[in-house]
Structure formats: C-alpha cells, structure tokens
Symmetry: C2
Subunit: 347 residues, 2 copies
C-alpha cells in the first residue's frame, strides 16, 4: 500500500510575524488562495493513497491546528512529537508505526509548507516514483531542475551516464555560494533537493539500522505501544532521547541505492519572502499583496501579507515587506529579510 | 463671573487614521502623555473659573466621549450641536445661554485640540486678558509671537505705535504664502492667530447683532427653552438654520475694538503631522514615536502614533508617517501628509 507522510512540525521563523511559533507557515494561507500550505499539500496528493494512509507528523502543540485544517484525516493518523528533533526521528517514528501494520508499505515523505504549481505533473511523478521504489531497496528523491543559480537550496548531483527518467545520485550538496550555484546551473546534472523522498518501509528501516542504530533502537523499544492508549505517553518519554538530526544527514548522504528523479512542476520551498513574492500575483506596480483591504499608493515591488479584515493604506514604499498577524506588524526592506529573526527578537 | 468655553466639535480629518470622524483628534492622546488634547485643554485652564462655568460645545455624536473624558464637568454644561456650522453659531449658542443666567459674564473661547507648553505663562496671560475685557466692550485675541515663517496659520496684524502689553488690531490675515510669511516674520507686528478669544458676553451679543443678525435672531428665539427639557429638541430644529461661518469671518474681521495680546507660551495648533512631530520627544534617530510597543530599526525622522498595545517593528523607513487606530494602518511619506484625505478615501 502507498502511504503519504506529511511533516508539519516546522516553526517558520523567517516569516515572522505572518508565521509565529504558535501558528507557523504551514498552517497559514500564505498565497491568499483560501487554503493553507498544509491543506494545499494534502490536496496535491489526492488519489495517491486512501485517506486512512495519510499521516501527519507534527508537534504536540499543533494538534488542534492539524485537526481543524484537515478534518478528513483520522485523528489517530496525526502523530505528535513532544519536542523538535529535526526530520530523521520524525520519519523513523512514522515508518516504524506503519511497518507494524503494513510491512510492505511504500512511503512518500513530504514537507508541508512547499509550493507546487503543476499539480497533475506532480501526481504523475509521484505515481511513477512509487512504482520505482515498490518492492525494491531503492531510495528515490525528487530533484527539481534548477531555473536560476539559487543559493538557498541544497542540490543533488546525479551520476553521469544515466538513461531513462530516473538517475543514480552521486552526492548531496550543501547550499552553495553564488559562484558554485552558477556553475551547477550551467554544468547540468545538479538538481534542487525538494525534500521529498519515496521508499519502501523496509528500506527506511534498514537505512536507520545501518546509519542511525540509536534511533532504530528507540523505536524498536516502542513497538509494543503503537496503536495503544499508551503510545503518546511512551513517545513523550522516549522521543526526546533521539538525536536532533535531519534525514538528509542521517540517511541520504550515507546510504546507497539513492536515486533522483529530475522533475519540473513549478516548485518552491517558499523559504523566503523573496520566493513567496515570486509566487504571488503582482499588481501593475509589481506589488504582491495578500490581504483584501490593502491599498497601495505609489508603492512598488512590495510584498504584503495581512489578514483580509486588516485595513491599510501603504504609500510611497518601494521594495518593502509588510506583514501583520495577531496585531503584530513588521515593515522591513526586502533586502534585509534574512534579518527578520533579529527584528522579531526586538519585541 | 469668568466662563470657559471649549469648542470640541472638529473632525480632525488630516490625522487619519489616528483621528477619525468617530473619534477625532481632540479625544485622542496624540502626544502620548496619557491625557487627551481635550483633557489637557481643560487642565490648562484650571483655576481660571469654577468647574460649573466650564462649557464644552461639541457634536451630539461626541457627547459620550466628552462625558467619559471630562467626568468632572456637569453634564448640563455639555452643549450639543446637531450638525456642523463652524465656530460662529457654536459661540452664539453658548453665549446666549450663559448670558441668560450671568448677564455680565466674561468668556474665554478656546479650541480643544491645540497644545501649550508653558502652562503657567498661559494662565498668567488668560487672567490678565480676562481683566482687560471685564466690564468693557473690547474683544481680545491671543496672538502668538511667530518663530518661523509658518504658512499654515492665519496672522493678526497689530497697529503700530501701541504701548503696553496689549495692542489694537489693524487686520486679520489669511494663511500666507511662504514669501509673505517670511516678510511677516522679519517685519514684526504680525502674530499667529491662536483661535482664543476673550470678551464679555454683552460684547459678543452686540457683535452678532451688528454683524450676523440672522444668528442673533435664531438664539433670541430660543431664549425660553434654555435650561429646560425642551432645549435639545429646539436646538436640533433651529441650529441647522444657522449659516456655516467661522467666528473670524463673522465677527473678528468686521468688528471694532479688537485687541491682540502678543504671547509666547509654546503654542501649536497640532494641525499637521509635521507640527505634531515637532512636539513629541524624538529618539536618537529623530523618530517621534507614540506607542509603547514600537521598535525602530534603522529608521529615521519618522512619526509613529499607534495604540500602546500595538506591537510593531519598523525597519529601514526614513521620513514616514506610520499611524494606526481601530485596526486601520497608514504608512505614508511625511512630505505627502497633505494628501492623507485622499489616502483615507481609498478604503
């Protein structure tokens, strides 16, 4: 059976005050479409697997937000982390749990806060990828064909000489500097790491046993409590013992049999205001405005994200970010967006 | 007896969204002192007359705001205009009413939304002015010694050759252009019209009979209802018949026996964001901020007025106005403040 695992525990601190620890980016309608990023993510996978095979792993503090935004998902499929331990422990938890009932499950692991423009193409890719990993020990990543020398993403380098749609991975690359990013773009064979992984649950288990036996041992020890009333209490006790480590670092950069599927479906991790700006419809003055009651006067190149009932007139602003949530307003220059964490710390 | 009449019916549209028709400038703590301009005005006159001789004339829609902000004033001293007719009908109403019980009253007429920095000097001037008009037919205006070539105020020209503190008025001057304002400043003998008038109630009555007999007739016809339960209904019916005319135009520019008292007590009409900016304490980057939870980062020369519980970080703004009230935010360039009415109309 196919299963979808959505990781929805991030805190989105770069989008303060739109995104806050109390309600991070994935729970927000950042694009002004009427759907939150989490809801868009689930919709994107419609038809890939039955709803009872959709899993959301999140922080215990976001349980109610997930229930509210995804009422169609069984509450027992919402797995709650008592603390943040990055993606590896999160994936191990859900994999160990699924495996217990479905020993031959194929899993798609997906972030909850990215954007895909061409959803039919996305579904085609995911279906094909699931066939590729089913009954095999291959790990498949989706690698987005780069369209600019982006320094904000990690890259996946494919081995030369592959044929067919899916290529073997040579190595994973950290976020490059601009020179390197330009080289990747012109050299070819480098792809943006979209953070989407497809693999059989047995492959996942083996990858953890080989590379992170400590994590494997923790979830082995929890086998008897899965699907019981004891589960949450046991997780709350044992999960914090996991190391804080990403799936990329724990598995991808070490395991063998890793493949990349070069794809092109209009993807963005929406990781910066700049990338959000790119994805929102602009007015004639190049302002990207999310918010029904915002009037731009002689303002250009701004990105504005405020609640629909928030009334504002913004005059004479060029290249600014204006964001409000819960009565907290930020105005800052777009070029200073990497300092937003510093700004938020001032309040 | 001395009486104080505070005119508090203005709508303050130039300070949107801080000031709105629902709660104009005089009812707002624009300086961040914890007191509204109306409260500061009443305090400024403390000791000039007993509290039962303090009158507030305002619009019927501001009755509750006045009661709330000035609980010490007898409710029957709050006179309510059913519609806006500028200052002349407002002054006639209160003068006719006071005269009926105190035929020899001396009145100080004052706006409710101006600023005076040197309150002891202000009181000295007002006391002396009241002595000057008591039992006489003289009309006294306060004329502020100009300290810059201001084009936003009307001017009073004194006759040459006066001795003593108080001078005869030669003429009233409309708001000048900058050349003329510079001339006034260097020539001397020109004073800013602060809109404060002192006169005996009989002088007021005569001035209306001579110059605006229509207004005099309207309030003559209402004599029998003053201080009765019928008063408000009668005012609601007859007041709208008054012409829409200022006291300057109706009386000051026509009457004789007008004097000016040149004064210097740190006055501002707070008529523009620029004048408000001048009066508020600035930080090291020349930002004038009213609001307890505003953080300025690399911003300069801004004026910010937001509620104390409003949290904001403003980064990289230079020479902007940032104002919020009732969830409505304005950001605009200081140099465009004369267009605020246009901006407000966009929502």
């Amino acid at each position: 059976m196919n299963h979808l695992v959505i990781m929805a525990g991030g805190v989105g601190s770069r989008f303060w005050p739109m995104s806050t620890p109390a309600k991070p980016k994935q729970f927000i309608d950042v694009l002004g479409t009427g759907r939150t990023l989490l809801q868009l993510t689930v919709e994107r996978f419609a038809g890939i697997c039955p709803i009872e095979n959709v899993w959301v792993v999140t922080s215990v503090k976001y349980k109610e937000l997930v229930k509210e935004q995804l009422p169609e998902i069984p509450e027992s499929n919402i797995l709650l982390e008592p603390c943040m331990r990055n993606t590896a422990p999160c994936i191990a938890y859900v994999a160990w749990k699924i495996k217990q009932k479905d020993a031959d499950a194929n899993l798609v692991i997906s972030p909850s806060d990215h954007l895909v423009m061409d959803v039919p193409e996305f579904r085609r890719v995911v279906c094909k990828g699931l066939e590729f990993v089913a009954g095999s020990d291959r790990i498949l990543t989706l690698g987005v064909l780069p369209v600019r020398p982006e320094t904000g993403y990690g890259y996946i380098k494919a081995q030369a000489g592959g044929d067919g749609d899916i290529l073997e991975v040579e190595s994973f690359k950290e976020k490059p500097d601009i020179q390197t990013a330009k080289y990747y773009l012109t050299a070819g064979g480098y792809y943006w790491n979209a953070g989407i992984f497809l693999w059989n649950v047995q492959t996942i288990e083996k990858a953890f046993r080989d590379n992170e036996p400590g994590i494997a041992a923790i979830f082995d020890s929890l086998q008897s409590v899965f699907y019981t009333v004891e589960e949450q209490r046991a997780i709350d006790r044992k999960f914090p013992e996991c190391p804080n480590i990403s799936i990329d670092y724990a598995v991808m950069e070490r395991a063998e049999n890793i493949y990349v599927f070069p794809v092109s479906f209009g993807w963005s991790d929406l990781g910066t205001w700049g990338s959000l700006y790119e994805q929102v419809v602009k007015d004639l003055d190049s302002n990207a405005v999310v918010g029904q009651n915002v009037r731009m006067v002689e303002s250009k190149g701004c990105i504005v994200h405020v609640p629909d009932d928030k009334k504002m007139v913004l005059q004479g602003l060029e290249e600014y970010i204006v964001a409000e949530e819960n009565g907290v307003l930020l105005v800052c220059r777009k070029t200073d967006e990497q300092r937003i964490k510093e700004f938020s710390s001032k309040l």
